[in-house]
Symmetry: C2
Subunit: 148 residues, 2 copies
């Protein structure tokens, strides 16, 4: 996940872009991300547990909740990161797509087979899909400091 | 941080709201959060390292970067969470406020004294302040399952 460095001392920091495949790999390795959306004209973000299926992020939420109301049919973002405060290295990935509720029974059965359950207390009867139409990411790495 | 449970088995999940003081305490204990903003009419979120000073979140960024362009003078959100995928417990906090660039030399000196540096490679010559005008948060806790 992180850039190799031959030095124990932090060196020069640098951003490295992640291509789509690398972004998908990062998303595949995590279980919690943040839905980024607009809530009554204000920016908002809430963590959800999710599964990645191909190019789609899927999560469960309550049909009566504000995430369901704010995301379905809206362009939303999905953000995942992993930053180590000690080494000051890590990565972040941002997907953007037009979210929709999954209602097709066959697709719902597929999603259930992926093991998507909800960690939240409310009846999470709503499966939301965010197709990752735009997917960008970057790593913050440290390269060894140049010798002096 | 987490709710005590007398059972090793996951019980009934529940959300518990965090009051403003609890939210500030959570923010105080972390160093990386996400700036949530609009980038060319699309929702976006990027992790930054930050310091909390009173009711304000402060972070550094490059004046030429898109975070500086998208946040200054804009209403943005700041999101921090800590979710444990094993216990499925954790918390999330969301602040919202109108961000501005800190330009007052005295305030910049105060911010420098707080130890705010940048982990990013670019010249982070821009200090952004997000006053936490709205601050909400919640915990996802597990209460022991009722005996049967």
């Amino acid at each position: 996940m992180y850039h190799d460095t031959s030095s124990d001392e932090p060196g020069t920091p640098g951003f490295r872009s992640l291509d789509r495949l690398a972004c998908l790999r990062m998303l595949h390795g995590r279980v919690v991300g943040r839905v980024v959306y607009t809530d009554r004209a204000l920016p908002s973000a809430q963590p959800v547990n999710y599964v990645l299926d191909g190019d789609e992020v899927l999560f469960r939420t309550a049909s009566t909740g504000k995430i369901a109301a704010a995301t379905c049919g809206a362009v939303v973002a999905f953000q995942v990161d992993d930053i180590d405060p000690v080494t000051r290295t890590g990565w972040s990935v941002l997907g953007v797509g037009e979210a929709y509720e999954v209602v097709d029974p066959r697709r719902l059965a597929e999603v259930a087979a992926l093991g998507l359950d909800s960690w939240a207390p409310l009846a999470a009867d709503h499966v939301v899909c965010i197709p990752l139409q735009v997917l960008t990411g970057r790593e913050l790495v440290r390269t060894p400091a140049a010798s002096v």
